[in-house]
């Protein structure tokens, strides 16, 4: 690995965000339904006797949504919305909110669709599922006999005919298959459809310093691809990503072609990383401007004079003007985040009082008080 390349930061960020993204792009996570749908979409018979099948744990969607197996469509909708609010990634304080939200989305995707729910119910409950697996010699789950012949129908919210790739907002399970089916319909032939892969979204956590100097981060990604036999399988890959200088909070970095693989001759989707800076008590950014606390001794603050200190733009010396005021800021033009028109660096002046430890130091404070007999700190507030 190249010296200076950090690998630790991105991995949890990718994982957490990817789980959130799983709600939108389940194909990437090789969920059984999506993998099968993708395989079928490609005109291939899905196989569950190895690879995906080995890692296919039964998911009790009813339990995830907290509803009875006989729950009505309305009950499922209510339960889903309640949990969607509870685990919303922008609001929830639950530690595993992203993972739970992905689970809840998946459960809702299956149970809110009568056809998918019927197919899911046909697998039986967890106990029946385990028995089926054992009955098949432990070689993995084999779907019900008619599963492969089922013709799922996909509803479309938008104008399905206007854009083969993005005619509606679908991103839940079976989305790939829905796209493939529409595409096949347009082609009028049941060949392998050419479909662009889904984009992936994730967060990346950086230090503010990275924006000044640029950085390299190592991303570990897992994608699901279809092998020559059409069997979904995992593929891990590592990317060394150069973080461009001047990146700002909330901006996105796009890695073209690093999202989910396409089907047929379809291009891969993009990977989009949303940038967030780690919290740091020394400095923070607002847009391309940077704010930095500069601690001053009381005499520096009041009398002014040259002060030397470290900034993210390098070591600097500035002349602090005499006469300290609480909340005073000094602006250093062009020393903020790099850009064609760089941001500014604001120095937030902060007075730090030296502790009086020795008798001599205590006397110095007493002399200080004597020098200001009329001073009343409370009268200034």
């Amino acid at each position: 690995m190249r010296p200076g390349v950090e690998t630790t930061a991105i991995i949890p960020a990718i994982c957490a965000a990817a789980l959130e993204a799983a709600a939108l792009y389940p194909y990437y996570f090789a969920e059984p339904g999506a993998a099968m749908a993708a395989a079928r979409a490609a005109g291939l018979r899905p196989s569950f006797d190895k690879k995906i099948g080995d890692s296919m744990d039964y998911k009790d969607y009813y339990k995830i949504l907290g509803v009875d197996r006989k729950a009505s469509a309305d009950d499922i909708k209510k339960a889903y919305r309640k949990l969607a609010r509870k685990y919303h990634p922008d609001i929830s304080k639950e530690k595993d909110a992203d993972a739970r939200m992905a689970e809840v989305n998946e459960a809702n995707t299956v149970l809110s669709d009568p056809e998918k729910r019927t197919a899911y119910d046909a697998m039986g409950d967890e106990m029946q599922f385990a028995q089926n697996v054992r009955a098949q010699g432990g070689g993995g789950f084999r779907p019900p006999p008619d599963w492969d012949q089922q013709d799922f129908h996909f509803s479309s919210q938008g104008d399905a005919g206007s854009d083969a790739d993005f005619s509606d907002f679908f991103s839940q399970m079976f989305g790939q298959a829905a796209r493939a089916r529409r595409h096949q319909g347009q082609q009028g032939a049941r060949g392998t459809p050419d479909m662009r892969g889904q984009d992936q979204h994730a967060s990346i956590e950086l230090d503010l310093q990275d924006s000044y100097s640029g950085a390299v981060r190592s991303l570990h990604l897992r994608a699901t691809v279809l092998d020559e036999q059409g069997i979904p399988t995992y593929k891990d890959k590592e990317l060394q990503v150069t973080i461009p200088k001047g990146v700002r909070e909330g901006q996105m970095i796009r890695l073209a072609g690093q999202g989910n693989p396409g089907l047929g001759k379809g291009a891969s989707g993009d990977l989009l990383l949303e940038v967030h800076f780690r919290s740091d008590p020394r400095w923070w950014s607002e847009g391309k401007d940077v704010y930095q606390r500069v601690p001053l001794a009381p005499w520096e603050a009041e009398l002014g004079g040259p002060v030397r200190f470290k900034t993210l733009a390098g070591e600097l010396e500035v002349t602090v003007p005499a006469g300290y005021r609480s909340g005073r800021k000094l602006r250093l033009k062009g020393k903020g985040l790099p850009a064609a028109a760089p941001g500014d660096l604001y120095l937030v002046l902060d007075v730090v009082f030296p502790p009086a430890a020795t008798a001599e130091q205590k006397q110095a404070y007493a002399d200080f008080a004597k020098a200001f007999p009329q001073f009343d700190a409370r009268s200034l507030s």
């Binding site: 969607a84 938008g158 206007s162 984009d199 593929k235 891990d236 060394q240 150069t242 001047g246 890695l255």
Partner: protein
Amino acid sequence: MSTSHYPFYEPAELLEQAVLDLHELARHCCASPQWVIEHVQTGVISYDNAGQAREISHEQWRFSSQTLVRARRIAQLEHSFDADPQLAALTTDLIEEVQQLRRKLRNLQG
């Protein structure tokens, strides 16, 4: 499971202001261009080059990556709760404001 043993350096593109066109924004949101057009027309999302004197066509609209984050959030809210676009936008406005205030509070607390 297979692993690539040869990591390669991937050129990253920083998405600045006014970089995404209508179709890119739609694609990155898993939405249709029509969804984007409707949400621009109703003022729920806006394009960066909106201040021009003459009216520009949909194809000339350009969006920032911040708009992409906002649009994705709105789309997800609409989808999860069958929410009205204006309600989803209101919720997104509040989420954005809470995030800003939390950042400010964190900075004040040092």
